[in-house]
Symmetry: C2
């Protein structure tokens, strides 16, 4: 039998509960967030990864709603896939809803979706649950954490958050609400572990003002500031500082143009109308009056910054005295690409401010002292670290134990492990089936480990296919021999190797009369593979086709 | 005409002069180091990269010697390739020579190579050059920097170095020698830029003692310490601390076993004989008396740590109360792999100490304050930052200018740009031809950009090859149609897609009588490609073969 209350993170093997959490009580389920992950570098050809919601398929009729904490892709990026399977209402704050609408419109799914706007401070009843979104600071405005009252007790889900006393929009995390939750008694706290290995507190967004002032004062020419397209508050901050330095603002990159447009329309971003100029008009301004906000701080091949670094941007080109600022942290796995872009920008003569050299970015997640503060404020009975890799959760759990939570009240779980709350205890249940769901082109979930292995083999050494006709009666090949190869050797330089390979096909296909073509194919494949390994030290995918007749 | 003195870094587009530098005077050339680089993640199938020494091929008879600063792979890893082309004597210190001998023996090249041992403090005349190796601290013992007296003046090449006042082997960087060089007057300083973006000084190796003491005291069971196989001084340090905690030492991983054996034989590593145990004997000891030194701190798939993380090691398995320490920094590009290994070790129940959580590693390269100190000690007339990506060189050049070196006396150059010293001036010459030389299996330099593109295409979406016989007279296919595919779709699940594809081949190959098979192949390829893109959103490499007859 199922426990009365069940909480479970869903996803693949990466960050736990970041992309999706479910809360289940009896025959009622609410889902929190539906985000996507980006593939690691050995997940070849995969566009992105979505949570495995196999568990929900058997319980479709129990689903009451999906609640979104904020508008980042790792929280909304799988919503289109999710809503295709589950027709449930979506709850989100105004800005988050705006971002969701952009996405659903692209997918032509906007009209058949029910979207509810809620705001921090609202109280929403959904089945047996009472949802109370509360404001938190994060690197995108209008982010919320959630109080979820269930018949078994109060759950607090921190969302992605930090305690920033001086955020750009002047709206700090709602500590009064947290105090109120605490006074009601918190059954379980689910809290953001992203930075649980960082000592201290995350610096306030306000510290960046000084750095931006200094850079704008000293930069001898144009300033190009790259950051995440969703980092609306960073754009606001740059606008504020630029205004005092008499610099105009241009926006480069489709996603940043869309996001800033939408955030301006909804009032989350305020750019004085005479400050905003089109990218094409930048040429006409004195360089010291220009700031360009751009995408591509991770070195993404198609984004603005890489196109500038390789001089492939339509209207913008790096010129002497340009200063480029990378106002973001580099996501693990992107370092090579980002550093390559930085080196190329230097090569073109720009000065580049980045990473440890200048304080031009602060994280959107809480450091260890903030994490402890949240636990101490809420004094939850049970504690579950979420939003992080296992190493982050372990670290976060250590902090909770240091604050006095008993071992058995702290659960470090991976995606797919249910937590059952019953009779005043928390028990970890059996893992439900599920793994990575890869999205590759329009294929969802059809690309699995076997295909990854095949792609890896091809990526390492390419393939060779040898094709000829075969006469079974004579035990001999017949007519022309075709060799198709890609990714193995550079054909114009490999004449000798390939002509030896042809001789091997002919000779090893010379067999006893009446031998079945399948047998000959196997034999020739083996001979060719050994030959190639001997000659080149590599193992391309070798296939031999003997067409009978 | 050539300048009297020419200095040039060789290599690909990565770190400048790290893998090879040349010094040329008239008809005399000496080469410094012959190292290899590891490929970046988009260099598919490449084993490693060696410098492009095209420039030297035309000047073979001028080559006098190759001088090696220390035994790391990025300084000796291309020596076998180099010596195959250039039969010149090699100069190295004792330990470095030991490491070179291991490598040349594997390649069966030891006997035909002339190896000279020199020591810090020696003076070696080679043609018009006088070479004075001097001791420097680095993360491998017996490392040297070089004073190179040429008729045009004194060059100082820093090698990889740091100023560590309390190194593990008690042998600090030879500042007296540097002072002497300074008093003679230094024409040009070539200096290590690896950490030029790190403020302050690199902490001494000695600071790790405290961390290791604490970890050995608190670890409730076995300790597994992973680091670079070449980090002999780290092994020594662990041995010293382990001795005081009554722990025995076992070594896991072939490269680490070989290196520690060789360093012990030459006296660079001192392990008391009763402390060293075989890995197989570890089981018989109480867990609190065990330290295992292992390879794999970068998450390398075949190294010990990953095999432990995935439970695929022959004799060693993670057990409860094991503590794993990653005593190394993660090289950019390896983060994903390293973190995956850490997560899996946690999953198996080990505690893991790493990265920012514990001070268990210090760099082998100098921070900004040390770099300034070297420049101030030597007061060179010209300054050339080397050993770093362009971004590091730019940063290092800024430091030199801050110390008062005139702009025109500081040269930031990339690999392949010669610096010509003539008439008291330094001029940057025209870039000599050269690019990345990829080593892939036994192929050296034959794998180029076109092949990389093909592999990338295959890695993204795999390939489909359709093969059938074709009757030109009838303008029709004949007999069986074979479809070979890898990395595109998982065949057991793609019956419908592939059977539609067959129908498309048949129908689009039904053409006017007499059509040449090449034309039909083109037509069918286009039809198939569009079909697959439409159905899956992906573009596999499609090839169609129509065998006539």
């Amino acid at each position: 039998m199922t426990a009365n209350l069940r909480i479970m993170p869903l996803g693949g093997l990466g960050e736990v509960g970041k992309n999706m959490m479910i809360v289940e009580y009896g025959r009622n389920i609410i889902v929190i967030d539906a985000g996507m992950m980006f593939p690691e570098s050995d997940m070849l050809g995969v566009d992105h990864i979505i949570p495995d919601w196999q568990y929900l398929r058997d319980k479709k009729e129990y689903l009451r709603a999906i609640i979104i904490t904020h508008g980042h892709l790792d929280h909304i990026g799988a919503l289109n896939h999710f809503l295709r399977e589950f027709k449930v209402p979506v709850y989100a704050t105004r800005l988050t809803r705006g971002l969701i609408e952009v996405k659903l419109k692209q997918e032509r799914m906007l009209e058949q979706t029910t979207l509810h706007t809620f705001a921090a401070g609202d109280v929403v009843d959904i089945g047996p649950f009472t949802i109370e979104p509360y404001h938190v600071c994060h690197s995108i405005p209008d982010t919320v954490g959630l109080g979820i009252t269930t018949p078994a007790g109060l759950i607090v889900h921190s969302g992605d958050f930090k305690f920033d006393p001086t955020p750009v929009d002047g709206w700090p995390t709602d500590e009064a609400k947290l105090a109120e939750f605490s006074s009601r008694g918190v059954l379980v706290l689910l809290s953001d572990s992203t930075n649980s290995d960082q000592p201290g507190s995350t610096p306030s967004e306000a510290v960046l003002d000084d750095a931006f002032h200094q850079i704008m004062r000293e930069a001898p020419g144009r300033l190009i500031i790259a950051t995440f397209a969703s980092l609306i508050s960073r754009v606001q901050q740059v606008v504020n500082v630029a205004q005092r330095h008499n610099r105009k603002i241009a926006i480069a990159g489709r996603s940043m143009i869309e996001n800033t447009q939408m955030a301006s329309d909804l009032g989350y971003l305020k750019i004085p109308p005479d400050m905003l100029v089109k990218l094409e008009q930048v040429k006409k301004l004195p360089p010291r009056q220009v700031v360009i906000m751009a995408t591509g701080s991770q070195g993404e091949p198609m984004a603005v910054l890489n196109r500038l670094a390789t001089n492939r941007h339509q209207s913008l080109h790096i010129q002497e005295h340009d200063t480029v600022v990378l106002s973001s942290h580099t996501i693990p796995g992107n370092e090579e690409m980002a550093y390559r872009v930085i080196n190329r920008l230097f090569q073109r003569g720009a000065d580049v401010q980045y990473g440890p050299l200048a304080q031009v970015h602060v994280s959107g997640h809480p450091g260890q002292e903030e994490l402890k503060r949240l636990i101490n404020m809420l004094r939850p009975r049970f504690f579950v670290p979420i939003h992080g890799e296992l190493r982050h959760l372990v670290q976060h759990a250590k902090l909770a134990r240091e604050l006095g939570l008993p071992d058995k009240n702290v659960a470090v779980i991976e995606n797919g492990y249910p937590l059952n709350f019953d009779g005043g205890r928390m028990r970890i249940g059996e893992r439900v089936p599920g793994e990575y769901v890869f999205v590759d082109g329009s294929l969802v979930g059809e690309v699995g480990p076997e295909l990854m292995r095949q792609r890896d083999g091809l990526a390492q050494s390419g393939f060779v296919t040898a094709i000829t006709r075969y006469d079974r009666k004579k035990g001999k090949t017949l007519g022309r021999l075709r060799i198709i190869t890609r990714g193995f050797v550079y054909v114009p330089d490999a004449e000798e190797l390939l002509s030896k390979a042809r001789a091997i096909v002919r000779s090893s296909a010379s067999v006893q009369r009446g031998t079945a073509p399948e047998q000959v194919e196997d034999k020739v494949e083996q001979a060719l593979s050994s030959f190639f390994y001997q000659e080149t030290g590599r193992r391309p995918v070798v296939t031999v086709v003997m067409l009978e007749g």
